[in-house]
Symmetry: D2
Subunit: 183 residues, 4 copies
């Protein structure tokens, strides 16, 4: 039993990478194995129907699908772009959805978001639920949205706000319990 | 006064290309000038914050912005992918939104969709409104969703269903009136 | 183990009542007990903060909560009003959400919709997921949307389209398995 | 030329009433007439198809429609309930949408929200756009969301945060310009 984790951000200094690292650490502290991936490992072009027909599904989408299917669940930390899902993450969902049978079906997914804004990345996560649930995934109802993220982390990677840190840990505990039971 | 039109699909035989061609023809019949673009003209990588910092906004996003700002309004025909906006179209919105001042602000946009499904691409269009309106665009309230699109067109590019064809023409008339008045 | 079922429609001849009756019959055929409620049993005023303070939670919301908490899961068949959730169903969600602790949390919910339109009531169901999931419910990813509902039923209450009927039965089976396992 | 304003909240001490009062004052300072309504003036039962058939559209929905149609535009300040539109406001939209021809069509609407939460009521406003735009209304792209509203107002009804106050005034100016030009 292990979990696949990644931040849906390519930038090196992404706050979503910090948040997913924190989530990975917390799982490992509870002796839960993690496959902590970098989004760049799942490199793929913009979706193009003719590429699919002529060259097949890109290697990055196949690699992601394999890693997801080996895991008990997936934890994604995603930025919000323009009140919605990043085009990059949607592009991953779109390519993976072209694999048959539908790889997202019955996968267990927890969504996190870190944002420099006061409002957090919550609206982006709501937009992310729709294609995932539409593809049949069990997206955990609770989601974690970290606002003002540039100033949210201690040097050791934990959150300065202890109640937020506890909320994240509780959510990870509840999600992994749900995924393990329901799988 | 002219309109920028494109189908948010890269595939050569896209039904959204057929639909945007029909829209372009109908505008031209009314002596309205069109800039009928191919989505591939706006080629750009997946959004990557480090690329933005190190290499700047990609040429495709700059070209799109220039063409949009010269036009009175924009008409997009987009497929629906997984109940939502295509990653490719969202990626265009994301890159363009990084240009300052915000290029989408106060642009007039009409959304069309063609889909082989019975349900049409309506849910994808609703997901497309959010980032565009969040960026300040006037997205026309009415949207046109063509269902069963593989069998919807006559050989001359018009719609077999005359009432649908009239609905499209009326919507184009109302949208261009709105954009011209409000610009 | 039993399920609470209701149609979120007050009208006597509602197609959503027909659909929820069919769902109830299918569960009973598999020896699963049902509590088939009428939406009118959960009568309550429009939400009003002063009523909550002065008179407390209305009896209909308390009754609904009790019945939901006794059940393993809830199945709702809801019409779509204006591309979204009916005000009546949202009003029920709002009142119930004022009860402490949050009654929706960790409830298992399956959403169905019947609509006279060609498109079905799918967009309304997507709008219904948001408040339920926001309140912590496990809303089953798959949803059943019956289009052209005035002409969809046989006299015995089954669906004329055998593949749709099978799809409904399969979804009921998968949902009840999920709810029973995860509860 | 005048505007219809109301808070979609029945509670006497609603922060949305404070916000709509502020908006009304700002319009009047610019010599724009306002029809500042109380939500309770548009009293109506929960939507019920049989009531519509047997008793017709309720007086509150007819009154609202008359007042809206006399105005150049409508400004609504609405709370967010459970990440979405209040059932009460949706119920108004639903009843009014049953009047023929569709009263919402081509109405100009600006959405505001006040919320005691840090996040503001922004998600509720996004859920409110959908039925209004689906019914053909021009919902202004920019929306105003006031967070931490219990502590946001001065005794004279203005906002403590001068930059927020300016943002509201600018938005009112841009919306009324848009509505007057496009009407």
């Amino acid at each position: 039993m292990h979990y696949l984790l990644f931040a849906a951000a390519l930038r090196k200094d992404s706050v979503n990478k910090k948040l997913i690292n924190l989530a990975a650490n917390k799982l490992q502290e509870k002796n839960i194995d993690v496959d902590l991936a970098d989004f760049a490992e799942f490199d793929m072009p913009l979706y193009h129907g003719d590429i699919q027909v002529n060259e097949g599904i890109p290697a990055g989408a196949i690699e992601f699908t394999k890693r997801m299917q080996q895991a008990t669940g997936v934890i994604i930390s995603s930025p919000e772009y323009n009140f919605s899902i990043p085009g990059t993450l949607k592009n991953l969902i779109d390519w993976v959805s072209r694999i048959n049978p539908m790889p997202w079906k019955k996968q267990h997914i927890l969504l996190l978001s870190a944002s420099p804004a006061l409002v957090g990345g919550n609206r982006g996560l709501w937009a992310t639920r729709i294609p995932l649930e539409g593809c049949g995934a069990f997206v955990y109802p609770d989601m974690f949205s970290l606002a003002s993220a540039y100033d949210a982390f201690n040097d050791d990677g934990s959150l300065k706000d202890a109640s937020l840190q506890k909320r994240l840990e509780d959510m990870l505990g509840q999600f992994t319990e749900f995924a393990a039971k329901n799988k």
